[in-house]
Amino acid sequence: MNGWLLAAIALLVALVPCAIVLFRDRPVDRLVALESAGAIETLQLLLLAEAFHRPVFFDLALTLALLSFTGGLVFARFFERWL
């Protein structure tokens, strides 16, 4: 257990309000919460990569950053056109 791992665990707290909005609110509000949770998760992966001293884990954070961006755009387009 090191400080980076504690910081990554502390970021889990930030995911709880996003999860509440994801379960409860309107679809477009859920999309906002999903984007926020994706960004928070990307930072959590950065901290975990540092905690476990694995440089290859930084690639996971980069992949999640790119995929959450793309996924957010796809969802937004879907809401705009088909809902």
């Binding site: 400080g3 980076w4 910081a7 502390a10 970021l11 707290v13 930030a14 995911l15 709880v16 309000p17 996003c18 509440i20 909005v21 309107r26 679809p27 477009v28 509000d29 999309l31 906002v32 919460a33 984007e35 926020s36 949770a37 960004a39 928070i40 990307t42 930072l43 950065l46 901290l47 990569a49 540092e50 440089p55 930084f58 690639d59 954070a61 980069l62 950053a65 790119l66 961006f69 957010g72 755009l73 969802f75 937004a76 387009r77 809401f79 705009e80 809902l83």
Partner: protein, 102 residues
């Protein structure tokens, strides 16, 4: 604790605080437009703080450069996704499928 460790701890603590405030903002705000502001807090504030902390801890190459790249991607793509989501929210409100104010 030397000055570098203090700086790294402070940067990470600020990043975590920004993420917690942002997620509380997403929970407590009334509509999608207000909630979108708090997504920017994560991508534009917390991400660079976290990446700078990692770069200070690990050095610039290769881990620091990767972390800074992740932060740069988030800073650039965050406003794009925010804009697209705001357009989607506006189209939902105009179609009447949801109300602008809760």
């Amino acid at each position: 604790m030397n000055a570098l460790a203090v700086a790294i701890t402070a940067l990470v603590a600020l990043a975590i605080a920004a993420c917690v405030v942002a997620s509380l903002g997403v929970l407590l705000m009334r509509n999608a437009y207000a909630r979108l502001h708090y997504v920017g807090l994560v991508t534009a504030v917390a991400a660079p703080l976290c990446a700078i902390a990692v770069a200070l801890a690990e050095g610039l190459w290769p881990a620091g450069a990767k972390a800074l790249l992740v932060a740069a991607v988030m800073v650039v793509t965050g406003p794009v996704v925010t804009h697209a989501t705001a357009r989607a929210a506006r189209s939902q409100f105009e179609n009447g499928s949801t109300r602008a104010e809760s």
